[in-house]
């Protein structure tokens, strides 16, 4: 933000400027008007001067006459006084020769007054010394000069009047223009002051308006609206910077709170998931545990039966007891344990041997496994329940001809454990029902861990990355494929 001088300084400067401009314009118009008024006095200044000279001549002449008649000191004083006035007044007359009619007449008048004073002074001096003829001649000359002066004065006043009329006409013709220029001057001063005032006020209030808009935006919750660049007085820039800082701080705080809330939500979700997993595992363990009714007794009893079969040379019975014992021992251990695929295949092979005892050659069983899949970790008891479901549900009502194919292979970063049967398949409703893994409390059903149980254990054991894909349709058989990621393996 660009800072300029302080708000107070700017406002003061603008106000002073306005006052100065308008004041100067007002003072000037007043001065000009005063000058014009005084100028009018010039019109009469000349006339006033001539009138004073006329009065002086009359007074001096009269006093001279009185003094010469009576030799009165009062008359003499009066004469001197009037003479002094004449000297003073004529000193204002331009004595140099100029090509101007009135100036020449005035010069003449000044000359006549000078001549009068000479004659009068000579008469006064002659009177004092008693030379009658001299003062009489001087007096006559002085009187004659006064007469001639009156003629010149009359001529001057006539010419002055004409000149004054012409001058006043010239003056009057300009009055209109002077008034007009005064008006233009005052208007221009006012407009100049107003323009400067509006410009600065606009700038100042514009900044405040911008701040107000930003405040309203924040009030609406729009914290992303950034304050535009402001070039203003120092105080306003300080306000704007503080406001922007506040906005960023609030936004940052909100973002942080939002982020924390999101993190907490994720943590809570994770906790809930873990709790759920733990609970489900514990349920599964419990379920399995419940199913493990004294496994040592069963195994020992089956071993005892196997020994009896060997003693009685019942070889098939002994093999049956051995394989059953091994299957039961594998099946009754914790279903949450992790085994390798090879173990699952071995379990399936034993289960299939036992099924063959029961069903003979009614159903075919094919078991294939790839070497690089055998060492991959998997939850225990994943394949056997699927094979059990295939025989129990897939071949339900089927006397013979069904086939179950079990495979284990690695594909696309996953190990695929698949059980495919050629049974009756599942309809859409049954298939949709299997998508719900349930809460783990379903009954195990006819002698095994249910498909849902397998699906739940696969997901829990793989941290949600594993899945069970069921492909089935009525009359088309069923394929259940367990996908386990290779990166983590099954745990």
């Amino acid at each position: 933000m660009k800072r300029s001088s302080s708000l107070r300084a700017r406002m003061t400067a603008v106000t002073v400027f306005m006052l100065a401009v308008v004041g100067a314009a007002t003072l000037y118009t007043g001065f000009a008007t005063g000058e014009l008024s005084r100028s009018l006095g010039l019109l009469f200044r000349r006339n006033q001067l001539i009138e004073d000279i006329r009065a002086g001549l009359d007074g001096a002449s009269s006093a001279l006459s009185g003094y010469l008649s009576s030799r009165s000191e009062d008359y003499l004083a009066s004469y001197r006084r009037n003479a002094a006035i004449l000297v003073d007044r004529t000193s204002h007359i331009e004595r140099r020769v100029h090509r101007d009619e009135i100036m020449l007449l005035q010069r003449q008048l000044a000359g006549l007054v000078g001549r009068f004073l000479l004659d009068a002074d000579a008469a006064v001096a002659a009177k004092a010394s008693g030379h009658i003829a001299t003062f009489a001649a001087g007096y006559e000359s002085a009187v004659r000069t006064v007469e001639l002066s009156q003629a010149v004065i009359e001529r001057i006043e006539r010419r002055n009047l004409s000149a004054s009329i012409v001058a006043y006409s010239g003056f009057e013709s300009r009055i209109g223009s002077i008034v007009a220029t005064n008006a233009v001057l005052a208007l221009a001063a006012a407009l100049l002051a107003f323009t400067v005032y509006v410009h600065y006020v606009w700038g100042m209030t514009g900044t405040l308006s911008t701040l107000a808009d930003s405040a309203r935006a924040i009030a609406r919750g729009d914290y992303g609206r950034e304050l535009p660049r402001i070039e203003a007085a120092e105080e306003l820039v300080t306000m704007a910077e503080a406001f922007e800082e506040m906005r960023r701080s609030v936004r940052s705080s909100f973002d942080e709170l939002k982020s924390k809330a999101e993190m907490e939500r994720r943590l809570i979700e994770e906790d809930l998931r873990l709790v759920d997993m733990d609970r489900k595992l514990k349920d599964a363990e419990l379920l399995a545990l419940q199913a493990q009714i004294n496994p040592h007794f069963l195994y020992n009893t089956l071993n005892a039966g196997m020994q009896l079969a060997l003693v009685e040379r019942a070889k098939s019975t002994g093999e049956f007891m051995e394989k059953l014992g091994l299957f039961i021992r594998y099946a009754l251990r914790s279903p949450s344990r992790s085994v390798v695929v090879a173990d699952e295949i071995a379990c399936v092979e034993r289960y299939v041997w036992l099924l063959r005892l029961r069903f003979g050659e009614r159903f075919a069983f094919v078991i294939r496994s790839e070497a690089d899949a055998l060492a991959v970790k998997t939850p225990a008891l994943v394949l056997q329940p699927l094979v059990e479901n295939a025989v129990t549900h897939g071949f339900k009502g089927l006397e013979r001809g069904g086939e179950v194919r079990v495979s284990a292979r690695v594909e696309g970063g996953e190990v695929l454990l698949a059980v495919e049967d050629t049974g009756t398949g599942m309809d859409e409703a049954t298939l949709a029902g299997l998508e719900d893994e349930g809460d783990g409390t379903e009954s195990i059903g006819e002698g095994g861990i249910g498909l849902r149980n397998v699906m739940r254990r696969v997901r829990l054991a793989s941290g949600g990355k594993g899945r069970v894909v069921i492909d089935s349709a009525s009359g088309r058989g069923t394929t259940v494929c367990v996908h386990l990621p290779l990166a983590d393996g099954a745990s």
Binding site: H92, E94, L104, L109, A151, L185
Partner: protein, 327 residues
């Protein structure tokens, strides 16, 4: 907004300054117009070296108009400021009063019109005593000892007029002479008359039938022409020595339908006279160059003021305007 504001501010500022400058100029000029001149501190008129008082009759005669023109034309070159005072021809005492004013007020020179019959000798004496240069101007030099007079030669003027008339009419010429007002003595003693008579005498048979001096009024010449024609209907030519008299005679000739029958030889060249010349009412006009007289008078004054001896009587030449030249 910022740019617009500054442009507007600059514009209003310029308008303000312009209005102030214009207003100040108007006020100054108004003040100057009112101030005028004559008071110390406002010497606005051109300065000059010498103050010359010019005293002339207030007449409508073109002679004085030309005279004043010449005086005003010569004044600047001579460094002279002229003060013109005109008096009614019927009040000659006015001229004496202005002469006295000039002497007592201490002007540098007085230029005054003097008729042939005026006694201007005392004027020269008084002026010399007061240290003021005096120059007289006129149509014919007055009598007496003339220190400085500038005018024309009436004798030759009259002779030229008679010559033109006899040239037109030869021995048939029957001439009426109208002499200008202001003269004294009998008309036959007038130099103009003498000049005409000298020219007429060369043509046996041609004669001057009547001579009359006009009065002072504006229609005096008309009256004189009418009287002459009334008493002497055989008159076929008029000689007039001033433009006023020429126009008066021309008016009478026109009024009586005598154009082409009565020739008029007049004087000077006012616009109306030139029109009559072009129309043939006036046959010729002898132009006394009064303008040249005025110029010469100012030069004479300046010369005397400079210390040179007065030139005495200066008689300037004249020219003849004919009908062809007027056209």
């Amino acid at each position: 907004m910022k740019k617009t504001a500054w442009i507007l501010a600059a514009f209003f500022g310029l308008v303000l300054l312009g209005a102030v400058a214009l207003n100040a100029d108007l006020v100054s000029r108004s003040r100057a117009a009112l101030a005028g001149a004559g008071i110390s501190g406002f010497p606005e008129a051109d300065a000059a070296r010498l103050h010359l008082l010019v005293v002339l009759p207030d007449s409508d005669d073109g002679y004085f108009t030309g005279l004043l023109e010449g005086i005003e034309a010569a004044a600047p070159e001579a460094g002279v400021a002229i003060q013109v005072e005109r008096y009614p021809p019927s009040s000659p005492e006015e001229s004496r009063r202005w002469f006295e004013i000039g002497l007592r007020s201490g002007v540098d020179g007085i230029l005054m019109y003097a008729a042939r019959s005026d006694d201007i000798q005392p004027y020269f004496d008084f002026a010399e005593a007061a240290g003021v240069v005096f120059v007289a101007v006129g149509k014919e030099a007055p009598g007496g000892v003339i220190t400085c007079f500038v005018g024309s030669a009436p004798l030759f003027h009259g002779f030229e007029g008679g010559r033109i008339i006899t040239g037109l009419l030869a021995q048939r010429a029957r001439i009426g002479i109208i002499l200008p007002s202001g003269g004294s003595g009998s008309p036959e003693d007038d130099s103009l008359y003498k000049g005409v008579a000298a020219a007429v005498a060369t043509y046996r048979g041609a004669e001057i039938v009547a001579t009359l001096r006009t009065g002072a009024g504006p229609f005096a010449a008309e009256e004189a022409a009418a009287v002459i024609l009334g008493s002497h209907p055989e008159i076929n030519a008029f000689f007039c020595a001033t433009s006023r008299d020429t126009l008066g005679a021309a008016q009478v000739v026109v009024d009586r339908g005598l154009e082409g029958k009565v020739a008029i030889v007049g004087a000077d060249e006012t616009p109306e006279l030139l029109r009559h010349l072009a129309n043939g009412v006036v046959a010729a006009s002898i132009v006394r160059d009064s303008r040249a007289i005025g110029v010469e008078a100012v030069r004479a004054f300046a010369s005397i003021e400079a210390g040179r001896p007065p030139p005495g009587v200066i008689e300037l030449d004249f020219t003849v305007r004919l009908r062809e030249a007027a056209e």
